[in-house]
């Protein structure tokens, strides 16, 4: 009896020895800052004096009244939209074409589509910034096409349309990732099932809807979750590409927070924005969990 109990005790000690290093580091970096951030968001923290006075909901009220906050939030949702309805379907389509071997040179094409995803986002951002700039490659090309040396890309100056050229960059950068994920999972489908259905005389579309789609339902949900969560992170790319400009039209929450905190030095307000980002993350987590339990497989 004693032995079993002590063995149980040892086992739980071993259990914690295994998880503690990860847990401590993780809590220190994620949990502690999130809590601090919530606290600071109700204060006027001054980093130079290292002093904080409580100001209540002031920052949140100001945020709700600020147009640029809402533009930033809307832009974040545009990015989610581009991811879920752009990158994922295109990635899926490309993966399917490669999987069914409809085109040749699959290895080459696959490499080309995925390549942008491995390059540093900051490099990609600066590169496309240069291409879109007034003296950049794309602008110059369009000026030659229109035969107008003063031509400029008007669309970059429109509040929501500015995201159209940017979405090209987003799709270019991340579609490859989804393609690889779908391709990997398509290749896990037992070829025997496909052969069997072909022998049974199923058409290409029947195979697609009856065999392929059902087996990928789970992956589609997971990629959607990844896309939604990843979209809140669209900082580096836009930071180097537009830095939120012109006039805050391409602002996203992360840049908005960055500007208020590190440029304007309003740490309380920046913390309030951080807290809002966390809240949105939590809501999205809950939402995707719900979607997952309804339509996908159980994650755990």
């Amino acid at each position: 009896m004693m032995e079993i109990r002590s063995e149980k005790k040892t086992k739980i000690i071993i259990y914690f020895i295994f998880i503690l290093p990860a847990l401590i580091v993780y809590l220190a970096v994620v949990a502690f800052p999130v809590i601090t951030s919530v606290f600071l968001s109700f204060t006027d923290y001054n980093v130079y004096k290292n002093e904080a006075t409580v100001v209540g909901m002031k920052h949140y009220i100001k945020m709700m009244k600020d147009d640029i906050f809402w533009t930033a939030l809307a832009n974040n949702f545009i990015i989610v939209f581009i991811s879920v309805f752009g990158q994922i379907p295109i990635g899926f389509m490309l993966a399917y074409i490669l999987y069914r071997k409809i085109v040749g040179m699959e290895k080459f094409f696959q490499a080309m589509v995925y390549l942008p995803a491995v390059i540093s986002t900051i490099v990609v951002g600066i590169l496309w910034n240069k291409m879109f700039s007034a003296v950049g490659g794309i602008t110059k090309l369009l000026q030659l096409l229109y035969n107008d040396p003063h031509y400029m890309i008007q669309i970059l100056n429109e509040k929501f349309l500015a995201f159209i050229p940017l979405s090209v960059v987003f799709i270019w950068m991340y579609t490859g990732f989804y393609m690889i994920v779908f391709l990997a999972n398509l290749q896990k489908i037992d070829p025997a099932i496909l052969e069997a259905s072909q022998i049974d005389g199923a058409s290409e579309s029947q195979i697609f809807f009856k065999v392929i789609m059902p087996s990928l339902r789970g992956v589609i949900v997971i990629t959607a979750i990844l896309a939604i969560s990843g979209s809140l992170k669209g900082f580096d790319l836009l930071f180097a590409l537009t830095n939120g400009g012109p006039a805050g039209y391409t602002e996203v929450l992360a840049i908005y927070m960055y500007r208020y905190t590190f440029i304007i030095n309003n740490y309380g307000f920046g913390s309030a924005v951080s807290t809002v980002i966390v809240l949105i993350s939590v809501i999205l987590i809950a939402l995707t969990r719900f979607i997952n339990s309804r339509f996908g497989e159980e994650v755990n």
Binding site: P21, S37, V103, I126, A184, A240, S274
Partner: protein, 283 residues
């Protein structure tokens, strides 16, 4: 019948052409900017501004030499290698240990801890940036190597633990039980049996972590300020800050920044793809 076959063939040829066009569009979009970047990096500053599309008239490599020396890109590359390798190794060891415990030493509390880590998959790094900066300032970790390694390790853990736990769950319990019968302790079982069996998932996690750490920008940008602690992406950004005018150097720096990952991809292309196939994103 023959006619519909012909039609079918025609449509399938049409579809094929469309598909080829789509893939070629992606290929061109990938290659052209990189080619443009590459040849522009051999142009002097004024030529880049005046004739952005033209091939270099005066082919110069001084851009590279200057970018490398005055931009301290050598030092930044070493820093990047250090951050990437240490974070990858430590996070894998930590994550596989935790994954083993979660998958095989089952306790009720596992559900809580495991979900806590899964939350991290969706938490944006930017939401913790401000307090992390302040916290590191308070404990004097700001602008130190350790101050970068700790968040890098922590942020790599959620994916690693998710993939690791799912993978280890697939290892039969009987294997572990029989080793227990033979008198092996859990540490030995982990080190000698489970960990070696996890190599495929370890590879996947390693690739994901390497890509993530090597390309990471904002944490180093905010949490460090000295040359001795900054990494390559931040070093490259220094050439294109708000007041930058040295476009030649900037382009050379961008090539230097992009090249390592393109090479990494060229060499590990198969592993990256296989990694995902090995159960990266659970289907």
């Amino acid at each position: 019948m023959a006619k519909t076959d012909l039609q079918k063939n025609l449509t399938s040829i049409g579809i094929k052409i469309i598909f080829y066009v789509i893939f070629f569009t992606f290929t061109i979009l990938t290659i052209l900017p990189l080619v443009w970047l590459f040849y522009s990096s051999f142009k002097p500053k004024a030529e880049i501004v005046m004739n952005p599309l033209a091939l270099p008239k005066n082919f110069i490599i001084t851009n590279y030499i200057q970018a490398w020396t005055i931009g301290k890109l050598g030092l930044y590359t070493i820093n990047s290698l250090f951050y990437t390798s240490v974070s990858t190794i430590v996070s894998i060891v930590f994550a596989m240990g935790a994954s083993f415990a979660f998958a095989k030493l089952r306790y009720k509390i596992t559900v809580f801890f495991y979900n806590l880590f899964l939350m991290g998959l969706l938490i944006s790094i930017h939401s913790i940036l401000v307090p992390l900066f302040l916290a590191e300032t308070w404990v004097h970790l700001q602008d130190t190597h350790l101050g970068i390694l700790i968040p890098y390790i922590a942020l790599a853990l959620p994916v690693a633990i998710y993939l690791g736990t799912e993978y280890i769950k697939g290892i039969p319990d009987s294997l572990i039980e029989s080793s227990r019968m033979d008198g092996a302790g859990y540490f030995r079982i982990f080190a000698e049996i489970v960990f070696p069996m996890c190599m495929p998932v370890v590879m996947t996690v390693a690739i994901l972590t390497i890509l993530g750490c090597w390309n990471e920008f904002i944490l180093v940008f905010i949490l460090t300020s000295s040359e001795s602690t900054r990494s390559l992406p931040v070093g490259i950004y220094a050439f294109s800050g708000p007041l930058a005018i040295e476009y030649g150097l900037q382009f050379a720096a961008l090539v230097i920044g992009a090249a390592p990952m393109i090479l990494f991809y060229a060499f590990f292309n198969r592993q990256i793809t296989k990694g995902f196939a090995a159960g990266a994103i659970k289907g």
